[in-house]
Symmetry: C2
Subunit: 712 residues, 2 copies
């Protein structure tokens, strides 16, 4: 539909000229009409006679409300009458309302009384909009009354929202069933409701000065949706416009930084224990094959490499400079880095914003901008990029190469990533510390890893997002190609914020992150281990081609727990077709249970696992397998593991490729079996029924978010 932007502009300009921070009811009505948002028939009466005339045109009963720019809380002011049924009552009501309003605020300008068609019936919902410091404009949807207020059952999307986004919001609340009609009520008109959400989201996106908006309640019926009350809050303060680089600009620098041909170490040292010494050692011992230039005020050579006083003295080009000098010397060296046209500065030093030295950090940002130097950090451990054997960090060298790229905002979490990766033999393409994020942040990394053939999955730990909207936009694009896992810390500290609208007051930080991540196809990790296990497990498995999951288990007890975990992780256990059920039954003892889980029972030889798993891989109706192994003398752990790898590889050669995960119940030998399985593409865990299923669930979440398979 066509939106009448100029009508809205005129109303907002009026309000701005009058120095107002909210719209009057007639103004809000005008805004809604301009954007095709359904509102009740109504008009404003300046006298009791006008009110009676209006009410007769609209039809009884009517609602009457005071109109005054100073009175926002009309009910509190005694300025609302509901269900006014006759001309007489309207006439009398006019006097009452105006009188109450005068008493409530003697200084208020009273512009008249709004006479409005009375809505009732259907389901009351709330549609609103807020401005979030990280994500900007968001549209919100929830059910009216206690469901939103007590149970906080509300959902958000970035504005403008697509029609698909809007429809997903109707299913995005816990009480979604109510909209489909319960207790004899009719289902609501979903298209009308989604349409209204879309229009509100477009409106606030088009007019940034609309800082908060409430349509509350909206009456949703089977025939449509009408907003009974509209509140629009304004903020004319100039918006902070975040600078954004184009993808090309980002990549031009990020490719040089992450895959440099030459690295300078500012503050390189031959002295053990110094950070500049650790960095040099890691570069050399890590096997980096590019040029390494130690920068030192006096030394002529450090660890066999010719040293220079300044990067400017180095004869060749340099791609990245790693800083290992105290905070107070960084700015001067960074100017030289700029003059040398180095693409990036890896700012290991601390002593900036994290210690309160905001000005010092701002100085670096300005130097970086002036010279076009991208800054990583400050206050970081540096970074690894294993395809180039590059360990630009003071931590220990890392050499377990693979396809997972990880980053962390915190140094401690970075160390946990390194330790876990090494211990679990998780193949890594990169580990990056972003620290204070003075410049390079999560979306720059996503942009680089998107086009980096050495990376298949990106996992990021963050505590905040500098520019949530940029992140969401990039993540939405990248997650279509590669899984993006995010561990958002601080999720339980709901941001209490000052808000003058209902929706605003309900916008707890974490719910917004939750919804925007979902809207962007991001897999949210609930814990550090989850993030690490997802990064490890997701890339080793093929992508499922559909939602049908089958459990094949030797231990009935594991089967039950694996089924529980499937429900917890939104996996869909296939209803076993009779012919397939019969086919499985052929391979298992008569007292085993087919159906799903397929319970092959505990005392079975390797062939039973082999036959059933082969069938599971072969049948095209099954899309993923979960194996429950039970340690017995007849089928020892490594026999099972080797056989499973063999079957999976045989079937892969025949073109049947499906994700398979395994839960191993048994004595300590199952640990070796789990490792063998993992190394051969089957994420497997000893003593756990829940982790393998969670890893498969994360893969499914990604595949569904990327549109590769339908939602369940």
């Amino acid at each position: 539909m066509a939106y009448d932007k100029s009508a809205v502009r005129k109303i907002l300009d009026q309000a701005k000229a009058a120095n107002r921070t909210s719209l009057t009811a007639p103004e809000a009505r005008g805004v809604c009409e301009a954007y095709g948002i359904n509102i009740p028939k109504e008009g404003v009466a300046k006298t009791a006679e006008e009110a009676v005339k209006l009410a007769s045109q609209i039809g009884f009963p009517v609602v009457m409300k005071i109109v005054s720019p100073q009175i926002l809380h009309k009910t509190e002011a005694g300025g609302v009458l509901v269900g006014v049924k006759s001309a007489e009552a309207v006439s009398e009501g006019f006097g009452t309302i105006v009188g109450n309003a005068r008493k409530y605020d003697p200084k208020a300008d009273i512009l008249g009384v709004q006479v409005q068609q009375m809505l009732a019936g259907g389901q009351e919902v709330i549609i609103g909009a807020v401005t979030d410091p990280a994500f900007g404009k968001l549209v919100a949807f929830g059910l009216g009354g206690i469901l939103v207020e007590v149970l906080k059952d509300i959902t958000f999307r970035l504005a403008p929202a697509t029609n698909e986004d809007a429809l997903s919001m109707l299913d995005g609340i816990a009480a979604a069933e109510i909209l489909r009609g319960v207790r004899g009520a009719k289902a609501v008109d979903r298209a009308a409701l989604a349409g209204m959400i879309e229009k509100v989201s477009k409106l606030v996106a088009d007019f940034p000065e609309i800082s908060e908006m409430d349509l509350n309640p909206v009456f949703a019926t089977q025939e449509g949706a009408t907003a009974a009350d509209v509140r629009i809050v304004l903020d004319f303060k100039p918006q902070v416009v975040r600078e954004r680089l184009s993808t090309e600009e980002i990549l031009a620098k990020m490719n040089r930084i992450m895959k440099p041909d030459a690295v300078a170490v500012i503050g390189a040292s031959a002295e053990n224990g110094k950070i500049g010494n650790s960095v040099m050692k890691n570069l050399i011992n890590g096997g980096y094959q590019g040029a390494i230039y130690p920068i030192h005020p006096t030394a002529t050579e450090i660890m066999g490499k010719k040293a220079y006083k300044s990067v400017k003295d180095v004869p060749g080009a340099i791609d990245v400079a790693v800083f290992a000098i105290p905070a107070k010397f960084v700015a001067k060296a960074l100017i030289e880095v700029g003059e040398k046209k180095i693409a990036g500065a890896v700012l290991i030093p601390s002593g900036f914003a994290e210690t309160g030295n905001v000005a010092g950090q701002q100085e670096l940002v300005e130097i970086g901008k002036k010279y076009g130097v991208r800054l990583m950090g400050p206050n970081i451990y540096g970074f690894y990029y294993t395809p180039k054997n590059l360990c630009a960090t003071f931590c220990t060298a890392f050499d377990v190469k693979g396809k997972a790229a990880l980053s962390s905002q915190s140094g401690g979490i970075g160390m946990a990533i390194i330790g876990f990766s090494r211990s679990a033999k998780m193949g890594v393409s990169a580990i990056v510390g972003v620290g204070n994020k003075s410049d390079i942040d999560e979306d720059d990394l996503l942009t680089f890893f998107e086009q980096d053939d050495n990376t298949q999955i990106i996992a990021q730990h963050c505590e905040d997002l500098k520019d949530g909207r940029a992140f969401a936009e990039v993540a939405k694009r990248v997650s279509k190609k590669k899984p993006v896992v995010v561990l958002k810390a601080g999720r339980t500290s709901l941001g209490a914020r000052a808000a003058s609208s209902h929706t605003g007051a309900l916008a707890g930080n974490d719910k917004i992150y939750e919804d925007v991540f979902k809207q962007s196809g991001v897999i949210r990790a609930r814990s550090l281990r989850d993030m690490l296990e997802f990064a490890r497990g997701i890339p080793v498995m093929p992508t499922p081609k559909g939602n049908n999951v089958v459990i094949i288990t030797g231990a009935g007890g594991s089967g039950v727990l694996l089924s529980d975990a499937c429900v917890d992780n939104d996996l869909s256990l296939m209803a076993m077709p009779p012919d397939l059920d019969a086919a499985f039954r052929k391979f298992i003892p008569p007292f085993g249970a087919a159906g799903n889980p397929v319970d092959i029972t505990g005392g079975e030889p390797p062939t039973t696992y082999q036959n059933t798993v082969r069938l599971g891989l072969e049948d095209p109706r099954i899309h993923a397998l979960i194996l429950g192994y039970w340690h017995t003398i007849i089928t020892p752990p490594m026999v099972f593991a080797k056989l499973m790898v063999e079957v999976v590889q045989q079937m892969k050669a025949k073109g049947f490729e499906k994700p398979v995960v395994a839960s191993l119940a048994g004595d300590v030998e199952v640990e070796e079996a789990a490792e063998y399985l993992y190394q051969h593409g089957i994420p497997a865990y000893p003593y756990s029924t829940e982790i393998p299923v969670a890893v498969l669930g994360a893969k499914y979440k990604w595949a569904r978010g990327a549109g590769l398979i339908p939602p369940v």
Copy 2:
């Protein structure tokens, strides 16, 4: 208050005599009156004139409802009129209702029309009761309307419920806040509401034939609670009375079984690979010092022990017989075991109820009962009791002694317990397989472990409870002394059940387990790993003396994630008092953050950890510590670990003993450090911020459930 049981008995006898399965409204009213359950003023009219007279006495408006034993769904039958305002309308309504009812069911006996005081205002809630196959009578509470029906926001307790139980139900629903008054509404009269719950629970406990009951809606206001509608469903089928042994009877046998002086192995074998051979090896190699009697039809000696044809041939007394013979021979041998007055039979063989051979299993149960032999299994791996070096199982011997007693219904899960325990060096007192639970079940084990000084914590995996009520009663008693952890599998398969009441239809199996476990002080594990980690971690820590938890962390990033985990696990981060804040600040760098978490920052020497942790242990306002370690060169992992153990032990010697857990972020060396910490009483985990907090959370859950510290 006095309950008029004889009045209820009379009404129920009437209904029974008439072969009815539900009560009429006047009967239900009589039942409520007898138990002091508030109901509206009302009466039954047989004619329109009577109805008018009644309505005038009660006061208008009134509600009118058809009274017919055959018509349960009155609204559907057009048998309800609400808000009838005048004598005329009552008179007319009488005809309408009776007419509708006749049309709806021409065969229905129409006893009249109920005329009732119309209730409105306040909060609508539901109070009900159901009969659960495992738990028997349960009382239910929820909010009326969509909250219960769509969001399933309902809570259960075993009936009869104490007043404390009833009050806890008001807080046990998600929307609890509503009862405290929201959006200008008044808080409800909690005592009145809890009183009504208590009375309903007493009623159904007193009269087992009341199988389901609904008070729906109950209008709860600030002055009281009145049940507007009552439905009572009856079931006169004789109740299955479960036999229960007294604690003394259970212990007399269980002590002999778990701590035997002599063990017979029926089906002992010298042949490798046979189950009877594995059992013999495990008994001997496990180091069991009691007498071992191999039973074999022909052999005279097995593995150096004199063999007998039958247990009856053994000269001395025998406490327990381990069966390692095929199913078909078990009954005969069990009779001999009975004749020999052996206390228990460990029935390893499968081939009973789990394969459909229910009769075979029943035969064993009857033999067991006849001779007073307690049966473990059948279909189990056997059991371990490490204080006696007893490995009465065909699995591998187990020797990591400690204080955790575990059991599993599934053999596979049993193997996972063994593997995890060995790998994690979890000290174990017992591991028991209960399998088909033909006799010995979870509550027998609880009763034994309660008085077993070698056991400090009991962790049980189960898929169902044979007698949920017995379990709950025993668990409630035992959990006051020792933590009881339960992994209830099958929690996501909600039991769909046929029910003729509202409450009945809402009684999903898992919610009942959830609530009864809570009522019984049981810590519910959400996953297999959780159960194992809780069993490992809880006994090594002292019990906290209060709810104030403080995080001390080297990594700010870990601090944020640890705080998230505290919220997830209902731990209460102490608001740091100013003097304590100042005291912590003395030890940390100026840019570190005190408050809670105490962020000592990353580059600190061991003394900073030492000073802050010592302070945390010393100050009596702090009750538990969570440590976040960050691997650095200055404070390497083992230096940290040894120092922490030293500080904790020093402070313990001074009388300051508090639970401490640790999260270690770092390279692989942190694994060794975590193990060292664990072995010295500090549950510690590498690469995880969530597991240590979950373990501390479980300890707190127990301490709160046992009444050792107040709820938060």
